[in-house]
Chain length 358, copies 2
């Protein structure tokens, strides 16, 4: 298929640092190229891809200190997308609703993956208005606040098989990976580790907005022989960090739309102990790739039950459910379905339009 | 004409508090109604107008504490605009570039007034991309950073004749009205007043972002018998505040795109002493409605020369150049011109399209 991927411009695709959406778009794009599709990637100019790259901005906007108005650059990119739209069988947008008022009035075939949380009140009138725009969720749970949207399918994120491999977990520590923010509940992870007397290694970034939270609620908890705060880590370190962990702790307290770190752990053969919120029950097979728990007491019991988990099976489940190849194949099915619907509608519209003119 | 005015949703139209763009849109809309046009106003639901009101959002977004994503509401409004587009002879947008990628691909007649400063680097690629979208400047100087845009005309803001009237200026004080921010240079105004030994009344709001500036650079200057800090004032107080002033001090240090307060002063018969930046030389007739100066020394001399200014003439110039009626007539000329161009293009496109289909 002739596929256009339209990525956000905040980070490069793939991102140099943090940037969940851009990372997934990169995995998907490269997998499509590998599968022989004709792929064009609209992304920041410092992106690296085997697809044809159309530069939406010279470089990633978050690294551009002169950038005050990121929307302006996204509109420039959209214009490039629209000018080339008839060259593609499908346009796959990853930039939220930024193209909705355009795409709804255009005659190209398009689909949008919504990557973020959708429980903002502002989105209610938006999706009631644009309830014809076909959208894809990254978990079924993500849809809940916006039942009025035109949900076409759920496609889970995937990562390339060779990025991680089955690892031993012989570091005998629990791992926490992500942001230090109230909804990620690092405090709970620390309490669980202390309760079971096991080491906890924390690889986490602290965003500006979370510095006060870190200073007031977390810092004093770190001064303990079992707790080790590593800070932010890169891709290479992640492999060792996750692969050597006995389990990943994921004690979230928010409607996580997907949670990439869970499948990254799985790809290393590392089981997850996760609180039952958001996408968690869709990602984790309870008792197979980890344990879904409701509170700290259950999490503590889960740590004791870790020997029941087969790490090789975690890796197998990852390959079967969350490989980039699986994600790509699932999206192709969505594209074909949307293209068919679109074709039917277009033919109908064309006939009407000829009648009107003649 | 059948005219659509599309206002920002941040404030109501007219705004309850500060909100320059919404205020001008209101003046223009009500004047069009008065002149007998068929006017539809797209604005926040708490707007008050004699035109037909289409609610873009239930209420002004800046007063809605639940609003995190104002763009979503503007997109909802845009969708309403597009659905009704064929009911208007012209669509007049006041929401910056938010509609550009839509309008450039649509066949309605539209014009956009740019209300803000245009020297952001982010806007360069935007206006190079959308260099066909017809735009109106609010001063000639405003255009300078964006010569590539499709400038159709400059239309100066206007205010209704009856909002203010010729006043005596018998308060024998100098006035400063606006925000306390570095580029407005309240410090200069204070120095000028002290140097000439004349009272300075300051009616100014302090935005959150300017609190530190106020505390560090302004607060200590206020403790002086000649200086009186009043704080933020409403429309009713403004009339007395400006009308009783001997002159308005406008010692700006930024490319002011228009500067409503200058014509508000003029409408009260109050002359302006303004630094030569941005729109200033286009708004003030030097020696007639005030003095254009380059530094503090010249400003001080200008205060001594105030008796040379005829306040009645200030008011007459206001009525002649900056009444809402003048603004409305100027916009009608712009609409007619844009509509004519648009009509020509549309006919050309229609012929091509029939050829292609048959």
């Amino acid at each position: 298929m002739r596929i256009a991927q339209i990525a956000p411009l905040y980070e490069s695709t793939p991102p140099q640092f943090y940037g969940g959406t851009e990372r997934v778009v990169s995995y998907l794009t490269e997998e499509f190229v590998k599968q022989g599709h004709d792929v064009t990637l609209f992304a920041s100019g410092d992106s690296i891809t085997n697809a044809k790259l159309i530069k939406g901005s010279p470089k990633a906007l978050r690294l551009d200190i002169g950038c005050i108005d990121p929307l302006a650059h996204h509109f420039v990119m959209l214009q490039k997308v629209f000018e080339m739209a008839d060259q593609f069988d499908v346009l796959h947008f990853h930039i939220d609703y930024l193209h909705f008022p355009f795409s709804i009035r255009s005659d190209y075939c398009h689909i949008t993956t919504l990557h973020g949380r959708l429980d903002l009140p502002d989105l209610q009138p938006l999706y009631s208005t644009f309830d014809k725009v076909p959208v894809v969720s990254i978990s079924n749970h993500q849809r809940k606040p916006l039942l009025q949207a035109n949900w076409v399918d759920t496609v889970y994120h995937g990562i390339p098989h060779d990025l991680y491999s089955l690892n031993s977990g012989e570091g005998h520590y629990l791992a926490f990976l992500g942001r230090v923010s109230p909804e990620k509940r690092l405090d709970k992870a620390i309490e669980i580790a202390k309760a079971v007397g096991m080491r906890l290694k924390i690889a986490a970034k602290i965003d500006k907005v979370d510095i006060e939270y870190f200073n007031h609620h977390i810092r004093h908890m770190l001064d303990h022989p079992l707790i080790e705060f590593i800070g932010e880590i890169g891709e290479t370190e992640k492999k060792i960090f996750l692969g050597n962990a006995a389990a990943l702790l994921f004690p979230i307290d928010w409607p996580e739309p997907f949670g990439m770190v869970m499948i990254e752990a799985m790809a290393n053969g590392t089981p997850i102990i996760a609180f039952n919120k958001g996408s968690v029950p869709e990602i984790i097979d309870h008792g197979v790739t980890g344990f879904i728990v409701s509170n700290e007491q259950e999490a503590i019991e889960a740590v004791y039950n870790l020997p029941l988990i087969d790490r090789a099976e975690c890796r197998r489940v990852f390959e079967h459910r969350f490989g980039a190849d699986v994600m790509a194949r699932n999206y192709i099915k969505v594209y074909e379905r949307v293209a068919e619907d679109h074709c039917t509608q277009k033919n109908r519209a064309r006939k009407t339009s000829i009648k009107e003119i003649i």
